[in-house]
């Protein structure tokens, strides 16, 4: 792998950039691998990367039905934060945040992680108490967050209306280390690093079946033929239920569309990321100048990756009320991503009823921010066959036992 740097660009510029090599190879599948990851989204690629980097397992294939990074990794609102309430959540999201902080250097690929600061507005007294609790919890978890006053909110977000007639802003939970990253670059950076380690990323290859013997996984049937493996990791987000079905087990997951949109680009007007859960909306401004806006999930199951309209309307009403100056901006593009929701809105990183088959899913509306931590924990689980502390609480049997990790407590809507 040729290293990326400003010097490399200068060198290649002399030959019209004709000398750049592929960021990742396009191999045909081998007969067998030590490990196969189904799903070349952020979580799948990160799993493969840390399998190689942390555990020395490099005979790995990542199989992707479409194009890598084309699922929720490529269609989210790019928010990164770790101010979670419950201990297991805070642990894995903060691990992710710490890895994000060094990810560009680690991957030699600029993922544009930008810790521009993130705040969650409190607009009812109930929300105030909820966020105060989060600050106390975060302190004990070693996650630096703070409670800030409406005046400080206004200072950080000059375009905000802090005394709207409906829901005045009573303060905010602020995480200065939170921010955004370039979502596609995260997938591409991991993909390039995986490919450089000799792993095979096989795109346009759909898994159609899982083969097992005596309760232990043996390989996968795909549209490019059968591929054997010693270990299998299922990391397919919205389609987890279908792939789990192939592997012979059921998941407590449902798939719904989560809505998002961007405005036309304008000159910088908001540096931080703002989430407003009472009125259901969140917004940040991309480096390109677009206002990136997230809304709610549809109340019905679907797989279409389309936006429905009524949520967008609600979200925009809320945001125009909160940021009156956006009224004359225009919606450029609206879309939906299929998110995999568990009963407690927390993920599953778990062994499964099938031997040597592992699953990572259920990230719901908050998966992008978790990618490095999720991959780290999943790689650890796959390599050792047993979960480490980051993954232990996220086992799939917790629903049967009632040991929920319920984040909706703190963030009523999206996380």
């Amino acid at each position: 792998m040729k290293r990326y740097s400003v010097f490399a660009i200068a060198r290649e510029a002399m030959s019209y950039h004709l000398g750049w090599e592929r960021a990742w190879a396009a191999p045909q599948p081998k007969k067998e691998y030590d490990a196969i990851i189904i799903g070349a989204g952020g979580h799948g690629l990160a799993t493969a990367y840390y399998l190689g980097k942390n555990h020395g397992i490099r005979n790995v294939a990542i199989i992707e039905k479409g194009w890598l990074g084309g699922g929720n990794t490529g269609r989210n609102t790019t928010i990164i934060r770790s101010n979670y309430l419950q201990d297991p959540s805070a642990a894995i999201y903060d691990k992710a945040l710490k890895l994000y902080e060094d990810l560009s250097q680690d991957l030699n690929y600029n993922v544009m992680f930008s810790p521009r600061g993130l705040l969650m507005l409190a607009q009812t007294h109930h929300e105030v108490r909820g966020y105060l609790r989060t600050v106390h919890a975060n302190t004990l978890q070693g996650v630096a967050t703070e409670w800030i006053s409406p005046a400080r909110v206004k200072e950080l977000v000059p375009i905000i209306n802090i005394d709207g007639p409906r829901y005045p802003i009573l303060g905010a939970l602020y995480q200065a280390r939170g921010g955004t990253a370039r979502h596609d670059a995260v997938a591409w950076g991991y993909a390039r690093a995986c490919s450089a380690m000799g792993m095979d990323i096989i795109q346009q290859c759909e898994v159609t079946g899982v083969r097992s013997e005596n309760g232990v996984v043996k390989g996968v049937e795909t549209t490019k033929g059968y591929i054997g493996t010693k270990k299998l990791g299922i990391v397919v987000a919205g389609h987890s239920g279908q792939v789990a079905d192939m592997a012979g087990f059921r998941l407590p997951i449902e798939a719904v569309a989560l809505q998002a949109l961007v405005s036309e680009p304008i000159k910088p007007c908001m540096d931080v990321v703002v989430m407003a859960n009472t009125v259901h909306g969140y917004m940040s401004q991309s480096d390109k100048g677009e206002m990136v806006i997230g809304g709610g999930t549809d109340g019905f199951n679907n797989f279409t990756q389309r936006g429905s309209f009524h949520h967008i309307e609600e979200t925009l009403r809320a945001l125009v009320e909160t940021f009156p100056m956006i009224s004359r901006l225009k919606m450029l593009r609206q879309w939906g991503g299929i998110v995999d929701m568990t009963g407690d809105r927390s993920p599953i990183i778990s062994k499964t009823p099938l031997g040597n088959c592992f699953i990572n899913c259920g990230w719901g509306t908050g998966g992008f921010k978790a990618i490095p931590g999720s991959g780290w924990a999943m790689a650890d689980l796959m390599a050792r066959g047993e979960p480490g502390p980051l993954a232990a609480d996220f086992n799939m049997w917790r629903f049967r036992e009632g040991q929920f990790i319920d984040e909706s407590v703190a963030a009523g809507v999206a996380h």
Partner: protein, 990 residues
């Protein structure tokens, strides 16, 4: 130079001049001009700067696809960034300013990027700015952010208002060109309810510009007749300036009507957003012309051939005095002919096709225009304006054979159907080799719930590009008779790069996406680096991600990608078409829901009285409730303390009208409530009240309240104020989805009744003073109710208490609420009555150890955690949550359980505080053993009291634990009984 022609212009009214300004410069145009036409008429070809390299840019198109000519329109509270000059109708006093430059349009420092463009290929930022780590946030990113973005960020609140409306029809025809008009005529004559939409102010589309002849009439006359016929049909609605923005499932279409963009400030809503539900959509959305990729194709003065024709014919504006036409098809000859007919010079037509035959080229030659077949534009010369073109062989590598001086270039790479509305809901496309474009695949339409096609595409949008073909297509798909005279056109030839053998130096000057500065070389770089999926290419290069969403660039970009990959264009495929077709103003999407009517407030019947008393109100769900009633000079805290002490010592009144009230009635109502609540409600005697708990299926406590048995078959369920709608929905969910055969009816009567709590030692005296009802302990014992008249008002009086005091909750029809309140205030005056707010209520219930949903519960707490096992029936076979509560983790003995806490130093435990435990967990986090759930200063007890959850619960009474404090330190508190006040309950029972 570009200028206004002495005559012509079918859309302008030369008798009405309109003054406007551009970058402060005063200019004039005519009524009927677009801003773009007026700018060209004033020789303002340079109108903006590109996104990345800040290259000078001019107007390219004449419609919604314009990528360059975007301006800041208006100022202050009417500033609108990124407004397309090509779709902005000119009005007197219009102010426009160009975007994305500093200090000025003519001299832009950002153009430095252009000189180092060689070092800034697609995706360069992924490969650099990596070290040192802090530099991205503090140095590189701020610079990128400043140089990116386009229009100015508005600062003020929008001065305009927006409206939303609904419409229903059998057929929605989108597009007011000849195909759309004819489709609407055919559909209208069939008697169907039809809505016809046109995004511009004008009807007829391209046909009148092209001089087509329909049914023996000039297109213009045919269009006029068609409009008249449509106007006479009662079942047809036509609406111009109204764009169908998006198609959603089940025939739902979003349309955006620009009501007052051209008459700002006239009092009408700026836009009207239509939500249309239609049986079928007829998309007659036309086609967009593609640019050609030759070096320097982005210089101001290089325009689409169709746009040049539009400006000349519609607005009598010539983009240049000498215009070179460059094309791969016959249609562009119409532009050359139109220019010539307008008395302008066309020094040459550069046609990439080796052989040029056909009627239109013959006509052009006959007019004396030089036609160069098999030739290419090698390079456009000029800086801020075209000065000439260098031409060579299309089959060559860029050797220059000739140079032609000119001040405009009209280019045409062929036409692409507008398939957005077909594709929004999943309609698929096929590649048409002959016309080199994607068009709808009739075999794979977007479908309705029953599998039928939701959208039909007709005319140019369906690949029928000429007037004759478009009307024939309408006839074939919908019937009808209209015919246009056919003008013979020879086949076009796909030309994706000009000249085809161009080397890398030329390709670095061939623009695909003008606004985002994506060039042929960038797409090739993406392919080289393995970003070979069309989505990867798009995201890596930003091709098609500008405000025109690839309307001009996508097909050209795809073709370059396909060539780089040695694949066919259909194999490469397209990116996804997303709504909206063109951007929609956020204000229009938000509609009228602004200020006070954004989520309208719910008001109790006594709301106005509270406000008049100067109550400090807090949002509770959609309600506003009095938090406290501060007197002059009193802080909120002082007011709350006064209200509590007064209630405890004399008597207080609370407006409890917001409390949820749901009537559950029917033969199976008792059985239903036994499933809903953890305790038994079916055995509650008529006339009695019982406190009940509701859990979700997981077993977690979700709501609580007092249930009242009204009659043999009806119960009144009180819910929390915030929970009323949710619990009503929850009841209906079970009744409609699971127990649909149970005979139970529910009605949410929350707003039908006002409810007032009168609490305190003097409460009975106040009611007795009002009179009309026996409210003695014997007649109305604790947890009973009576119906009758109180002070002359029909009332239901409950003996229930949330404060722990002797308390009556009086429900009256909402219309009597204020009267009762005022009567109670008057009657209570001699007994010291004062109103109290929600905060006093909270503190008093905490003093009594009563739980509060949302404080003691958070969705993870079961009743058993709150020592409420007594409210869970052991006898019932089942209730919602029972099985959930039996799961291993929920049945564990070491769960955190409710206890009281009193601080050692009398201070108040901070909201949200945790009780740390020794050591750390495997993830390095501090262990915890509990947390506070409610914490107050108790004026009754004169110290800080709290409720909380702690491992071991009441077993730990007497132990001293530490709570966290924000910013460090701890608060020590002793575990105690959570009932701090009147442990025996004598007061409430009194």
């Amino acid at each position: 130079m570009s200028t206004r022609l002495a005559k012509g212009g079918r859309l302008i009214d030369r008798t009405k001049t309109q003054g406007f300004s551009f970058n402060g410069k005063r200019m004039t145009g005519f009524a009927g001009d677009t801003l773009a036409a007026a700018l060209l008429a004033n020789d303002q070809m340079l109108v903006g700067r590109s996104f990345k390299y800040h290259r000078p840019r001019g107007i390219v198109a004449s419609g919604a696809e314009e990528p360059n000519a975007l301006v800041n329109l208006g100022s202050g509270s009417r500033l609108e960034p990124n407004q397309r000059t090509t779709t902005t109708e000119l009005f007197a006093g219009l102010e426009a300013a160009s975007q994305n430059h500093w200090p000025s349009l003519e001299f832009d420092v950002g153009v430095a990027n252009n000189y180092v463009a060689r070092f800034l290929p697609a995706g360069f930022y992924y490969k650099t700015f990596i070290h040192p780590r802090a530099a991205w946030k503090h140095v590189f990113e701020p610079i990128i952010r400043q140089s990116a973005g386009l229009g100015k960020a508005p600062k003020d609140r929008d001065a305009d208002r927006y409206e939303q409306a609904y419409a229903f029809c059998d057929l929605l025809v989108v597009g007011g060109g000849i195909a759309g008009l004819q489709a609407a005529l055919v559909a209208g004559r069939s008697g169907a309810r039809v809505i016809l939409l046109e995004q511009t102010a004008h009807w007829g589309g391209r046909a009148p510009v092209d001089g087509d002849v329909i049914d023996g009439k000039p297109a213009e006359a045919w269009v006029k007749d068609a409009l008249q016929a449509l106007g006479e049909m009662q079942n047809v609605t036509i609406r111009n300036r109204c764009k169908a923005a998006g198609v959603y499932d089940h025939g739902y279409v979003l349309a955006d009507e620009k009501v007052a963009d051209h008459t700002p400030g006239d009092g009408r809503p700026k836009h009207r957003l239509w939500r249309i539900r239609t049986g079928r959509i007829i998309a007659a959305t036309g086609a967009l012309e593609r640019p050609l990729s030759f070096a320097g194709n982005d210089l101001p003065g290089v325009m689409l051939a169709g746009a040049v024709r539009d400006y000349t014919v519609n607005f009598a504006v010539s983009p240049g005095d000498r215009t070179v036409v460059v094309t791969n098809n016959d249609d562009a000859y119409r532009t050359a002919i139109a220019l010539k007919e307008a008395g302008l010079e066309v020094p040459a037509i550069i046609d990439a096709r080796a052989s040029v035959t056909g009627a239109l080229p013959a006509k052009a030659r006959a007019m004396g225009i030089r036609v160069e077949a098999g030739r290419a534009v090698v390079k456009v010369k000029g800086g801020k304006r075209v000065t000439g073109v260098a031409i060579g062989l299309q089959a060559g590598e860029g050797a220059v054979l000739d140079e032609i001086g000119c001040d405009a270039v009209a280019m045409s790479g062929g036409w692409s159907p507008v398939v957005h509305l077909w594709s929004h809901c999943g309609g698929k496309l096929i590649w048409d080799e002959a016309q080199a474009h994607f068009r709808p695949d009739p075999k794979r339409p977007p479908t309705n719930h029953d599998g039928s096609a939701m959208v039909t595409v007709v005319g140019a949008a369906n690949g029928a590009l000429t007037a004759a073909a478009a009307l024939a297509d309408v006839a074939a798909q919908m019937g009808g008779e209209a015919k246009a005279e056919a003008v013979e056109e020879a086949a076009m030839e796909p030309v994706w790069i000009m000249p085809q053998g161009a080397g890398p130096a030329l390709k670095m000057k061939m623009w695909l996406d003008y606004q985002n500065d994506v060039k042929v070389s960038d797409v090739q770089l993406a392919a080289r680096e393995g970003y070979t999926s069309v989505e990867h290419t798009k995201r890596y290069t930003t091709l098609g991600m500008a405000t025109d969403q690839g309307k001009l660039s996508n097909i050209n970009g795809l073709a370059v990608l396909a060539q780089s990959l040695n694949e066919g264009i259909p194999q490469v495929g397209t990116t996804t078409f997303r709504p909206p077709y063109t951007p929609v103003t956020l204000g229009a999407l938000a509609g009228e829901a602004r200020d006070e009517i954004f989520q309208p407030l719910r008001r109790s019947p006594i709301h106005a009285w509270h406000e008049a008393q100067g109550a400090y109100m807090e949002p509770v769900g959609l309600w506003r409730r009095p938090y406290c009633y501060p007197k002059a000079g009193e802080s909120h805290e002082q007011a709350v303390h006064r209200e509590i002490l007064n209630t405890r010592k004399a008597v207080g009144m609370l407006d409890a009208s917001t409390l949820g009230k749901i009537i559950v009635k029917g033969p199976d109502a008792g059985r239903f409530l036994d499933m809903l609540y953890t305790n038994v409600m079916s055995t509650l005697p008529v006339g009695k009240c019982r406190y009940g708990l509701m859990c979700n299926e997981q077993g977690f406590l979700s709501d609580d309240g007092v249930v009242v048995r009204l009659t043999e078959d009806s119960w009144l369920c009180h819910t929390t104020s915030g929970g009323a709608d949710r619990i009503h929905g929850w009841m209906e969910d079970w009744l409609q989805c699971e127990w649909w055969d149970w005979q139970v009816y529910t009605a949410n009567v929350t707003e039908q009744y006002a409810q007032i709590a009168v609490a305190g030692p003097n409460a009975r005296k106040v009611l007795e003073k009002l009179g009309g009802m026996d409210v003695s302990k014997e007649a109305l014992p604790f947890m009973a109710f009576v119906e009758g008249h109180l002070g002359g008002l029909p009332a239901r009086v409950h003996r229930i208490s949330f404060s722990g005091e002797l308390s009556y909750e009086i429900a009256v029809p909402a219309s009597h609420g204020l009267a009762l309140w005022q009567a109670l205030i008057a009657a209570g005056a001699e007994f010291g009555v004062q109103p109290y707010g929600t905060e006093a209520m909270h503190v008093m219930r905490a003093e009594k150890g009563f739980i509060m949903i949302g404080d003691e519960t958070d969705g993870t707490v079961i009743p058993q955690d709150l020592n409420l096992g007594w409210a869970i029936s052991k006898k019932k076979a089942d209730y919602l949550g029972k099985r959930g509560q039996e799961r291993v983790y929920l049945a564990r003995a070491d769960r955190w359980k409710l206890a009281g806490f009193e601080t050692l130093d009398g201070s108040v435990i901070p909201d949200g505080a945790y009780i740390p435990a020794a050591g750390h967990n495997p993830n390095g986090q501090r262990n915890t053993q509990g947390r506070v759930t409610s914490t107050y200063h108790s004026p009754t007890l004169g110290k800080g009291i709290a409720m909380g959850l702690i491992r071991g619960g009441l077993d730990r009474i007497g132990e001293v634990v530490e709570f966290t404090k924000m910013g460090g330190g701890t608060v020590q508190a002793r575990v105690c009984d959570p009932v701090f006040y009147d442990k025996e309950g004598e007061k409430g029972n009194g």
